[in-house]
Symmetry: C2
Subunit: 353 residues, 2 copies
Amino acid sequence: MHTFSRKLLTEWRKLEQPFADKTFVVAVSGGADSVGLLLALHELRKLKKLNLRFVAAHFNHDLRGDESDADAEFVKSLTVKLDFELALGKKKVASAGNLEQNARNARYDFLSETAENVHADGILTAHTLNDQAETFLHNLMRGSGLQGLGGMKPVTIPDSRFQIPDSGEQSGIRLVRPLLNWAMREDTENYCHLRGVEFRRDSMNEDLKFNRVRIRKILLPMLQDFNPKIIETLAQTATLLREENEFLDAEMRKINEKPQSTEETKNKGQRTKDEQESLPLKDLRDLFPSMRKRILRDWLKRRRGDLRSLDAKHFAAIENLIFSRKSGKTVELPNGEILLKNDGHLTFMKREG
Amino acid sequence: MHTFSRKLLTEWRKLEQPFADKTFVVAVSGGADSVGLLLALHELRKLKKLNLRFVAAHFNHDLRGDESDADAEFVKSLTVKLDFELALGKKKVASAGNLEQNARNARYDFLSETAENVHADGILTAHTLNDQAETFLHNLMRGSGLQGLGGMKPVTIPDSRFQIPDSGEQSGIRLVRPLLNWAMREDTENYCHLRGVEFRRDSMNEDLKFNRVRIRKILLPMLQDFNPKIIETLAQTATLLREENEFLDAEMRKINEKPQSTEETKNKGQRTKDEQESLPLKDLRDLFPSMRKRILRDWLKRRRGDLRSLDAKHFAAIENLIFSRKSGKTVELPNGEILLKNDGHLTFMKREG
């Protein structure tokens, strides 16, 4: 067994994934990472270490014309050669707005649909330590708190992205990244070479107009001058911060589940804080600033659906509102939303019309 | 009043520092930041906004020969001109080991002694948003968890660095950084220009052999290509992470203060976890991984004095020890220290001799 496959198997065990009788969709772009992953799964299947059904899935974003089609052809012949089922998707991605984001959304929609179609238990992607480090730097430079810096998880519990269409129910399909915790990009390249298999190089991965490419080709090599192991270091930091964030989210849920301190509890019944339209100010004031911010963010997210267009200034204004002595004051949020302080509570309201 | 001084006054209020009848030592290197701070204190004193006694303190590390002496001369004539008391210190800093660290230690020792001598209530340093961002990047690249990424605090509660010599008691001297939350380096330079006062430029601040200089002169300008407000963004991230860390430390103390879950509590009396030579494994296992790590770090720090020479591998081995089923196993730490798992407890021991 090649070292690369052995390491993949070890990680598979660590992530507590099944070894038999299940189906996984494998996202394959045709680049070194996903080809390396597919080759290792091929090896582990042949050695009967993983008795699973794998369905490769390739999505053609149709952004690079002939090159995109050639990628799809490449993946097709590779999967034929290695004897993998293949699902092909193709859709022109809207270039309006954030192109990278649009492409990612379209790709995950396709992967999700494919997983539904083949009754898969999970989707595998070939993200590496390098991807984790690049994501970390991307979020860091954009401006992130602890929530944003944790990066990708090796196993993601289903979220709204993987809902069964039109049902509102979650499909239970996991997203698994079995290379994320240990593989460097050069490991996947080396393993492809060892197996004598070519991989595709995406010309957009060389285009310096994309932040992600500049991070990889300019910023990270410079950071390596400071710390030769910068990729591993940043990926490790992301993991540590994600663990801290998970603890804090659990603490938040505990606080939200506690009954309110005020008299009104009796009238309002036993609804927990996060379900309420109003938050008692006293409870908020008693919290540590960072936990107060976390609870407010979570509560606002439930009221609004997301936190879009809220920035640090809004949260500073809310903080002031919570601690100012006058009652009846408000903070205006975007889109006609209002936070009202009244009767010892913070209430979320939306203007009519 | 100049905008710079007004902002300093606003921050002074926000940091809840006294406005009269107290003494503060002001660290003055002669660079733009500390000269800007001194000039603003001069302005606020003249306008009777701050009725405080300020004692400037300059430490000559004697690393740059005539240049170092000229810095001291410059600070001397500046304080005479502005009518500030001045304490001068001079000591050749050991170049063995980490020069920057040695210089910082010698400087803080001098500031601390000066503060004792003049019965000061606090020490002011002129660290800016830039310093905060640079510190963040420095720690990030070295490899840090949440504890290390929080950066400098605007007000530091006394720690062991500010102990009264030979008494073991803490002196109660605060370290206050009244520019840290709002001033950019260019603000201090501009304010010096506005006041028509020169400042010194340290040639070591141009020497690219120092990490800190490479961060400032090469890395940060490149990060500005990604985000023009990168300094503010990174400083803000450091603040957010510090707040999260403070909450987590408070949670840790709560957990440490809880009585133990095991039978032995009765025999051992009411000692809290952090005072114990042994930690009950069950309590550790029940914790979130990040909180378990935090409690272990804190406990080991108390046993050893610091966490020096402990790395991720040691903590991974301890984690394994906690969860493995066999008893009587050990993890060897550096310098003949041993963690022993026995009778449901983790015990710290040191080899004799």
